[in-house]
Every structure is written in C-alpha cells, then in structure tokens.
C-alpha cells in the first residue's frame, strides 16, 4: 500500500517533468491517463513550476556572483 503511493507519486512527477520537457511516449501517456488522477497532476505541476522559478533565480544569482557583478 505504502510503496504503491510512492510509486504513483513518482509516475505523476515523471509525467509532469515530461510535460515540461515536451516529449512523452504514447504508451506512457496512456498509462498516465488510465492510472493517474487529474488533481495529482495539477498539484505536482504547480509545485514544479514554483521549483523551476526558484531554479532560475538561483541560476541568475550564481551567474552574477561568478562574473563579479
């Protein structure tokens, strides 16, 4: 039961990341639609968008620090 939840979260996350990247195989897409829940995708999608924004901020800070600005 517990491992099942982890497994499902992981799959949803992979689905979201594939969405960010823009490539997903047809079989994986079908599985997402059969086994996944829309709400899970929305929640993880929003979380990953926030993570992406933070990543960009950190990247810019890092670039500025190494160029000495």
């Amino acid at each position: 039961m517990h491992t099942d939840v982890i497994q499902r979260c992981w799959r949803t996350l992979l689905g979201v990341l594939a969405g960010f990247f823009g490539v997903r195989s047809e079989s994986a897409r079908e599985r997402d639609f059969k086994e996944g829940r829309a709400l899970h995708f929305v929640v993880i999608g929003v979380v990953m968008a926030v993570v992406f924004v933070i990543f960009v901020i950190v990247l810019v800070r890092w670039a500025l620090s190494i160029t000495g600005a």
Binding site: F21, V23, A63, L64, T67, A69
Partner: protein, 382 residues
C-alpha cells in the same frame, strides 16, 4: 548539368564581387570599446551558429527530398512517434541555446556595470536636440543639427555627413570610464552610438545609466533611436573622443568662451548686428517649427510673421521665448541660448519677414532678466 554548374559559378562570382565593395558592408561595426568588440564577437559567433544550423537542416531536407524522389520509386513511410528522435531534437537546441547564453550573459553583465566611473555626463533628450551636462564640471550645452535646410530640401547636393552633423560635439576623453546618465525633457528619445555599442532610452522622469570607455580618438556618429515626433531624424549625436590632456584643454577653452559670452552681453549692440546674429540663431533653433519664412505650420506651430506676440508687447514675447509655453512644443529657451542669442533672436522675430517694429531687444536686458529672474511673468512655465 553543365548549365547548372555555369549558373552556380556565376552566382558565386557575383556574391564574391558584392562583398568586395566596401559600401556593401551591412554588418555590425566592431566599434572602439571593449564592450562594442564583445558585442560584435557575440553577434558573429551566433551568426555562424545560425549558418551552421541552417546548412545542416536545409542540407538534410534537400538531400532527403532529392534522394527519396517519387521518380525513383520512393514510398512514404508512415510512423507515429519516435521518442528518441524527439528527445534528440529537444536536447540539441537546448544545448546550443545554453552555449550561446554563456558569452551573452558575460557581455550583458559587463555592459550593465557603470560603477567606478571617472567622469559623469548627463544626456537629456529634447524635441529635437540633445543636451549634455558635464556633472562636476559646471559645463552644460545643447547640440543642434547643422545640416543646411537647402540640403534637406534637395536644393543643394547632400554633404558627406548629411543629417549626422551638429554644432557642438560631445567631447569625451579616451581611456577613461565615463558614466552616461540618460533622461528626457519631453518625450521618450533614445541615445544610440553604434561605435560605442551604447543604445539607451532617455525617458522623462527617469534616469537610465550606461557607460563607455573609448580606446581610440576619433569622431563617432549616432542618432536618436526612438520615434519622438516630427524631427526625430534630425537630432543626431556626434561624439568626439580625444586624449585626456586634450580633453582638459578643451574644458578650459569652453569655459573661457562662456565668459566671453557674458562679456559680449554687456557691450551695446546695434539693430543690424542683432539681426545678423538673430537670423543664424533662428535658423538653428526655431526654424524647424516656425519655418525659415516665419510662416510656421499652423495649427501645430504658429506663424511668427504677423503674429500678435511678435508685433505686440515685448515683455510677452520675451517671456514665451525664455520660459516656453507649458504643455506645448514651445520649449523654454533660457537654458539653451545665451543672453546675446536670446536678444538677437527676439529682435530678429520682431523685424524679419515684414514684421517691422524697429525695436531692438538688448542682450544686457535679457542678461538682467536671466540673472535676477525679474520682470518675467510665467514662473511656472518652465
């Protein structure tokens, strides 16, 4: 096959001979500053990356079309997806973009760092001229277009620096970090000098920063790069870079000139002298709007020929020229022209084109008003 080869050979010859002509140089200028050179290098790097991508993509495409042509019995292969290929064509452009972003970021960071400058110059855009203020140097002047009206109107052959020449250059020292503070008086302008790789908006109410450090003495020309009204194309920029010692010398000279101007206002001028000088000032500073014939372009710019202001009370006339008319294109000229120039141009307007008041406004009278801010009304009309 033979004819195709001839055509290709002919075309490449034409291309080669085109690139041999200097006038055909369409490329960015490498410029005369470290920043301008890195902008140029960046531009060329990205250009060649684009060329390589173009050659590969179109090469594969044309080869495929040719190789798999129908006359050879090729048949279309139907397939739906190919994850590996899709991943490849996403990863490869991403990698290329990152490879370009690295030098681009380095250049931008350099460009945006005006700290530790040795000289500050404020640049203010006006309709349609630039004003340069050397902060800490007590030096301030306007820079006006000098291309004659006859060249603009095609009555004369155009000069070498047509529309890229001004009465007063922005003189700057070489090998010195100069901070440029940009703003505008009326509408948005943009100060653009390609050889320095500086192009910055000048926005009323804001101060934008840029900087430059010029390596080679020389004259570098630029233009306003933001549509700012009727004479947008007639407010060029001329930067004159000179070695630091020569710059100091120039500073001393302009300051002496300014003192001479003050002295000139004290001597007494005849009507004729004022008219001669007034015509020059008028053509340079007023004719763009009020026209050389004084007839203006009504309703936007009123005629001065026969105008009740130019023929009526001299105080009102002086007031509008010194302080402008609020919220119209008529600017305050008190900071733009010297007392003598102001007196001359007002005298000219009262006696030219059939206006014949016979009145002369004396430079000392204007100098008095400028100094004491005395009998001019319209204080708020700056």
């Amino acid at each position: 096959m033979g004819t195709i080869r001839t055509i290709i050979f002919g075309l490449s010859l034409t291309l080669l001979s085109l690139s041999a002509h200097a006038e055909w140089a369409l490329n960015l200028s490498p410029g005369v500053t470290e920043v301008s050179r890195s902008v140029y290098d960046l531009h060329m790097t990205i250009f060649w990356i684009c060329v390589a991508i173009g050659v590969v993509v179109f090469g594969v495409m044309f080869w495929s079309i040719f190789h798999h042509r129908k006359s050879r019995g090729a048949e279309a292969h139907h397939f739906h997806e190919h994850t590996l290929v899709e991943v490849a064509w996403t990863i490869v452009p991403l990698g290329i973009l990152i490879a370009m972003a690295v030098p681009a970021t380095a250049t931008l960071v350099k460009m945006y760092d005006p700290s530790e400058a040795d000289l500050d110059v404020q640049i203010t855009g006006y309709q349609w001229k630039w004003r340069y203020t050397y902060l800490d140097q007590d030096l301030d002047f306007f820079s006006n277009l000098t291309t004659p009206q006859e060249q603009i109107g095609n009555e004369q052959a155009k000069g070498e620096h047509y529309l890229l020449e001004v009465d007063r250059h922005l003189v700057l020292p070489t090998d010195t970090k100069i901070r440029l503070l940009l703003t505008a008086n009326d509408v948005i302008h943009s100060w653009w000098v390609p050889a320095l790789a500086v192009k910055k908006d000048a926005v009323p109410g804001f101060i934008n920063e840029a900087w430059t450090r010029i390596d080679e003495p020389g004259i570098y020309r630029g233009q306003c790069a933001e549509l700012c009204g009727k004479d947008h194309g007639f407010m060029p920029i001329v930067v004159e870079a000179v070695p630091p010692e020569q710059f100091q010398q120039w500073l001393a000279e302009v300051k002496a000139e300014k003192q001479a101007e003050v002295a000139a206002a004290e001597k007494s001028w005849t009507l004729d002298e004022l008219m001669t000088q007034g015509e020059q000032v008028y053509l340079r500073a007023c004719a763009a709007c009020h026209q050389p014939t004084g007839t203006g372009i009504p309703p936007a710019f009123p005629a001065l020929k026969g105008s009740p202001v130019a023929l009526g009370d001299v105080g009102t006339h002086i007031d509008i020229v010194l302080n402008g008319s609020p919220a119209t294109a008529m600017q305050a000229f008190r900071d733009q022209l010297s007392a003598t120039e102001l007196a001359a141009v007002i005298t000219y307007e009262r006696n030219a084109w059939g206006n014949s008041t016979g009145e002369a406004v004396s430079p000392s009278q204007i100098a008095g008003i400028l100094a004491g801010n005395a009998d001019t009304a319209g204080e708020g009309a700056q």
